[in-house]
Symmetry: C2
Subunit: 406 residues, 2 copies
């Protein structure tokens, strides 16, 4: 689907952040597969990781290191998830952190490792470590696009976004990159995202901002579990902008920064859906008139994850019965069919729980033929609203996942 | 996949039960689409229905009728789900019950209506009702196979099973039929099952037996929600065998009958999986060494519903990393990776949470190339066990569901 090719990725440097990417030989054919992100000393960081109980080795190590120190470096490889690799995998992740720390003159706890790619294969740690001096020597402020490319697995396009805002008279930059080729666990390693700003932000505030941004972006594109072995989202605040430190999550400056961070996260999350494996459609599922946001989200997810709804979208078939059935099985207590309405864009399809009198198949087909489809569901029992983004489910999806790894 | 074609369905008549099937013109081209099941007076019945909040009209009516009377008739149509049809749909279902009751000389409450097929289209109730006199006139004991065929939608084979047992010196028969073409909601109307016996069983005992059988059969083939708008499973006990009434669910006779009913339900449930839309493989997921059955089932379902595991099975690819990731995201608290083992049939693939030292890709490929695959997962934390049956996920599945209804 349409998404910016790497040459169009115009990503703004973030003062206090330098990056480098290279081909370490984890992938064959010299494809970029390793990148390094460096943050100025005295920056702050926040991170969220997969909740998968059998998480990858780098996730375990990154969590440990984050508990002990504010990070200075993120080292990220594609092509190998270092998951399902047991103690040997933990050892490999730790060796890379130690090696980088020795070269950079910091503590190993200040290095966070990340991996994405095939699971169960030993990480070629010698190749990773051999590339570290070159990476350190080539760190630059304007290498975001190259890093966006170096973290790709089954992605067909590199994903990044920048924005700027004013904070107490200072211009502040937010830039983020992400990888992920579909919401349905492309293979273990769904999603990695790195978002950086030069704002001065206290660590607890940055952590709160990260959680809020996640709930409106990457957590809105989950499909069937959402917790791969390697998922991670990192926010770095270098502090180079010199604004008055944001120490209160409710402050005006914190709210302004949250909007900017959220814009970047939403753009990255939507780019992941548009690049979804085999995707031909971008579908927004919005549920309105719920009692609370939680039940709206429950219905959103039931509809957005339904293979039947997704295959109907692939076929451009306004099979609204499948939408209605997904709403019904979402587990909403005491849902009254007579209050339920369904719209495809502006076309009212279901009213009072049955086909709308004004609906015509031709009108439904017109909407479903579009590349972007809005499915709006009104529950008729409150004023809460939620949205989730998904893509269609194509024969190509099955082919990609049947062929991958072979 | 391999399943008995209709001509091979050898189903034993059940004394006290008569059936008839016909083509009422709901489907085009004269395909059978309507059947009637009659039970002798003084029989007992139990039923379980979809938990979908937007259930079909016949489900609502059948529930009402069951609260008021023991049923004498089940009238079942394919080709139209009578779901998403609002008050008009309820009216249609009630009209059919009233018409049949008038013709048969019973109360409308003694008639249970069932529908399966496309959602949102008005039920052609006149065609259904016009066929009722013919159905009543042609009721016979040996029409099970024809009825198995008349309830099919996207099924490629009719599904039925019979068994016999001795109860206090009397030979008792159990015969069942089911429709369903895959666990992933073929279209709203996943599953209908009708199981009959001539045993004398008190209604509360029959209800308990039904719940136990369901939990080990049809509830083991669920995938992504399991609650279509029309799902229903009915058990009828005609009482014609004349055995001493089974009035205690813990009695020896009740246990014997439960085994027979369960055998029939499991056979039907497995037949549904083997006939799964686009299925080329039959996969048993067994989880052992769990703390309790509930957590075993949780892991079973996470693995059995994973599109990545299912596409790997389609590709005959021993991609055990996908299995491990599904285990990890199942939501088991404090799961210790080092205790987890995974076997493909007898091949140990994962040990201590990482690839087993003895594992070879060739051995994994050998198992995955089979039509029947056993995925065995040991959690290493208890002695509970559970199994779920599923099928693979093929390009054909997407094609079937993208084309259906068009």
């Amino acid at each position: 689907m349409a998404a910016a090719p790497i040459s169009d990725l115009l990503l703004s440097p973030v003062p206090g952040i330098r990056l480098a990417a290279t081909s370490a030989g984890i992938y064959r054919h010299g494809r970029p597969d390793l990148c390094l992100v460096e943050m100025a000393a005295r920056g702050t960081a926040a991170a969220a990781f997969t909740t998968n109980a059998l998480c990858a080795a780098p996730v375990t190590v990154a969590r440990e290191h984050l508990r002990r120190a504010q990070p200075r470096y993120c080292i990220v490889n594609a092509g190998n998830a270092n998951a399902g690799t047991g103690d040997r995998g933990l050892d490999a992740a730790r060796r890379t952190c130690a090696e980088l720390a020795a070269l950079a003159g910091c503590s190993a706890d200040e290095v966070l490792p990340f991996s994405t790619g095939v699971i169960g294969e030993p990480l070629p740690v010698e190749r990773v470590n051999a590339a570290l001096p070159g990476l350190l020597a080539s760190l630059r402020a304007d290498a975001w696009a190259g890093c966006a490319r170096a973290i790709m697995t089954t992605d067909t396009v590199a994903k990044g976004r920048s924005t700027r805002l004013e904070l107490d008279g200072r211009t502040v930059t937010v830039t983020g990159i992400a990888k992920g080729a579909g919401m349905i666990h492309p293979d273990m390693a769904t999603l990695l995202a790195f978002i950086a700003t030069d704002a001065v932000v206290a660590a607890p505030v940055l952590d709160a901002l990260l959680r809020e941004c996640l709930s409106n972006s990457f957590n809105r594109i989950t499909v069937d579990g959402d917790t791969s072995t390697n998922d991670a989202c990192v926010m770095l605040a270098s502090g180079a902008a010199g604004n008055p430190a944001i120490a209160d999550a409710g402050s005006r400056a914190a709210v302004a920064l949250r909007h900017a961070l959220s814009d970047v996260c939403v753009a990255l999350a939507q780019a992941v859906v548009r690049d979804g494996e085999g995707a031909t459609k971008f579908i927004t599922v919005t549920v309105e008139q719920g009692r609370d946001e939680s039940e709206c989200l429950q219905v959103c997810h039931a509809v957005a994850t339904s293979p039947l709804v997704k295959t109907a979208c692939f076929a451009s078939d306004p099979n609204w019965g499948r939408i209605l059935a997904a709403v019904g099985r979402a587990g909403i207590p005491d849902l009254d069919a007579s209050g339920v309405q369904v719209f495809l864009d502006d076309v009212c399809v279901v009213s009072g729980g049955a086909r709308s009198g004004s609906y015509t198949e031709a009108a439904g087909r017109r909407v479903m033929a579009q590349e972007d489809i809005l499915v709006r569901i009104m529950l008729g029992r409150g004023s809460a609203t939620s949205s989730v983004w998904t893509c269609d489910f194509s024969t190509e999806y099955v082919k990609i996942n049947a062929d991958y790894r072979s």
